[in-house]
């Protein structure tokens, strides 16, 4: 990567669209992003910027290793995977929340038995119950976690909730909120120092156009 180029990893999918809109609003020619087809790297030459499209946890990995200077990624991914980087800005879009949910009308905390929790986000789940000083069994489920309490595998689930519609339609309800989620700008710890002026300008321009 050339010293005067800034390389930004952007989470594929919804955040990618939001980011392209934001960049266009900032006066960038983001056509290379919106019309990238199957290309994984979009170049915006007049901004000396390269946009790398990647899956959420990979955004963290590329930024931590410094092959990308900055990244746009959800707080959910940051909470689940951790890593070493700066988290400098909250975009305020891509909003949802982590919540503990289960079958409607039941008291999750009733009784002395150890609860079983199903989640795709096992670290978030572990951290949440650790803070409460509560021992739980955690079962990793890859998708449609709502099934686990319905089938009787788990007493509750920890999952991302946006409107709560999926929960309601399946007879589930939120027991407790865990954290608010939105998209964040992360920056490699060395790039932040060595490319300070360029990154400062980028951050300022983003803040002005949010």
């Amino acid at each position: 990567m050339q010293n005067d180029t800034i390389r930004i990893a952007v989470t594929k999918g919804r955040l990618e669209k939001k980011a392209a809109e934001l960049f266009a609003h900032m006066g960038w020619d983001s056509a290379a992003m919106t019309e990238r087809g199957r290309q994984l790297i979009a170049r915006i030459p007049e901004q000396n910027t390269e946009i790398v499209i990647a899956k959420p946890p990979d955004v963290l990995t590329y930024v931590e290793h410094g092959v990308c200077d900055a990244g746009i990624v959800g707080k959910d991914t940051i909470m689940e995977y951790g890593g070493v980087y700066f988290e400098v800005l909250d975009f305020g879009f891509g909003k949802c929340r982590f919540a503990l949910a289960g079958r409607q009308g039941e008291d999750f905390y009733k009784g002395h038995g150890v609860k079983t929790i199903a989640s795709k986000y096992t670290k978030v789940t572990r951290d949440f119950f650790e803070k409460k000083g509560m021992d739980v069994d955690i079962v990793k489920i890859e998708g449609s976690v709502e099934l686990a309490p319905l089938l009787g595998l788990a007493d509750g689930i920890v999952d991302l909730v946006e409107t709560g519609a999926t929960l309601r339609e399946n007879g589930l309800a939120v027991y407790e909120e865990i954290a608010d989620i939105s998209a964040r700008l992360i920056v490699n710890t060395v790039s932040m120092k060595l490319k300070k002026q360029k990154l400062d300008r980028l951050i300022k321009s983003i803040e002005e156009n949010l």
Partner: protein, 311 residues
Amino acid sequence: MKKYNFVTPEGTRDLLFDECTARRKIENSLMELFKSEGYSEVITPFIEFYDVFENYYPLESMYKLTDSKGRLMVLRPDSTPPIIRLAETRLKDELRPLKLCYNQTIYRSNPKETGRDDEIAQCGIEIVGNTKGGKHHNKNVLKLAVEAFEKIGENYRFELGDCRIFNNLIRINNIDKKVEKDIRELTESKNYSELNKMEIPKALKELPKLFGGLEVFVKAEELLESDYLKELLIVLKNTYDSLKEFVKEDNITVDLGLIGKQGYYKGIIYNGYIEGFGKPVLEGGRYMVSDTLATGFAVNVSAVAEFREKK
């Protein structure tokens, strides 16, 4: 039973031919430099009692084993605590300043498949001073760190900070332990937006933003009110100025948000970066051995060798 006799543990590798030459070349030039400045080499054991690192490293970040008496041991994750141990025991009565250097590997148990190295070769120095020579040593050590970078021969950047600034702000504002832990993490990750949401004094919110060049001192002067903090700023500014005697100013940065991850640091801390490499390649700072000041730094030789290889 599955056998693992054809693979190396994750985070480690065999070095072959050119890779060995590259690493040895860096090691030799650094050790030669350190020795020419009057530092004497020590080698400490690969394994140490867990207790040596207990205050500085989380249990899960170290490789652990037990000895025949069932006592907990670790593969050293850092060479400074063993040298503190040495300075407080066998070298206790040795004439100060003690000037020690080392060339050895350290071990970290990283989460798997993150591409981080578990085995890292380091060359470093430690100087354990008598009380009166403190300031002087700092300057000499910084000069040596710069010379080490020049030996490495890459385009580098030097960064200064002082963890007492953060620690003092926590103390004078009576922040309780739990909140302190949160602020520490958020400051370390420069998480401006989350810090802003907290009900804490402005100085703690702004501190992580105070990094860059000389202008940082001007901004800090307005933000930090107590005499003690102002005094720390002056000391840091003096260090900055003395560094200018042997480094181009463009190559020096300041970060007042550095908090000293390695828990033993008690004063000025510094990092060295190479352009194009995503992690610091030199880390150092001020710490205490009993009641005497000590300073040291380590160069990540594995990282430098790998970086050169790629180029």
